[in-house]
Symmetry: C2
Subunit: 211 residues, 2 copies
């Protein structure tokens, strides 16, 4: 078969593109390392996983979300994340791989979700809606179509992902919405957080028309 | 808000579920470590990344694909993958985390794509179609809706993902189809292979009706 690479014709009209851009601009991601639960259900602060930052930053950049916050109260972990970002944005990493630099530039560090909310409030002059994710189904959860609709409002949305065994229940109950879980084609619901972020961004902001 | 977990009502009729099961059963994944290219475009054999196996196995299990082949001609790398699988399927890992055992049970090891094709041919008594993935757009590529349709035929499909800087062009030109690239909401096309697999499985087999 023909394998010459070529440019893909743009299948969208200007109105579609405008709505999609507004949706991307309204979306902020947070990956929290506290308060999350361990296997026994106890609240802990988890360690930052290098590849979470890379994979989620690359997905965030692909779907053009406003920012990706890495949230941890642990100072040594914050320092680690800072070093990693600097290596890829201003150090040797960025010269070696400029695409990775572009991705890591979307990452911000915060020590609590309140700091993230304050940051978004300052930037957008509006209170962000907080939507949490879970692998479990909850009654009254926000559906993907409903989430796509509220993303088109002129208000920022902070979408929160947990690490370890998931976000603590107190944190979940304080959110404005719980997003319905990603259902694949089985009852198995143990995607990695890297996979879950990617699928959810595609469902919210991906090129639906050609899918 | 109410945070009691409950069961999600099944929104699909039997016919839909039958088609989805057939599609999942027809899909086989391969992650190849040779022949792939490095940054300079030279053909190399890449090293296996631990987290690729975990993340892709978990996604493969979520979307109920038939098998996930890890393809490398390097014997030390094959041994490494075997040890990792045994730890999670028969060793301490599986007892600690049975969900991870379920995922890793979908992984098979092969030293070449020809061996993968032979394995599927033996299992299904049919020649598998080979579809390759790329972050680049090619003329005449297979669209996602077209791929979903051929997955409903009674013939296995082998979907191939590359590591490092992607699959070599000779390998690509030998395939039956090249899948159109995942487009997000920007011109950035540098998803990790772990993210790309997850998004593509969701586009092919995910719960579209509620999206």
């Amino acid at each position: 078969m023909n394998i010459s690479a070529d440019t893909v014709p743009d299948k969208h009209d200007a109105k579609d593109m405008g709505l999609k851009s507004a949706s991307s601009r309204n979306l902020y991601l947070a990956l929290i390392h506290y308060p999350v639960v361990n296997k026994k259900g106890e609240t802990i602060a988890s360690a930052v996983t290098n590849l979470d930052l890379h994979d989620i930053a690359r997905a965030a950049r692909t779907y053009a979300v406003s920012s990706f916050y890495v949230v941890t109260p642990l100072e040594d972990q914050q320092l680690l994340v800072k070093k990693l970002i600097l290596h890829w944005t201003e150090g040797g990493g960025g010269r070696y791989n400029p695409a990775r630099r572009d991705a890591l530039e979307t990452v911000r560090i915060a020590d609590s979700i309140e700091k993230v909310q304050a940051d978004i409030r300052k930037e957008r002059k509006k209170e962000p809606r907080m939507i949490v994710t879970s692998a479990k189904a909850y009654s009254g959860s926000l559906s993907f179509p409903a989430f796509r609709r509220i993303l088109q409002d002129d208000r920022p949305c902070l979408l929160v992902f947990g690490t370890a065994w998931g976000i603590s229940s107190d944190f979940i109950s304080a959110a404005d919405h719980i997003l319905e879980p990603v259902k694949g084609n089985s009852d198995y619901n143990h995607l990695s957080v890297r996979s879950a972020v990617s699928v959810i961004l595609d469902r919210l902001l991906g090129d639906r028309e050609i899918v």
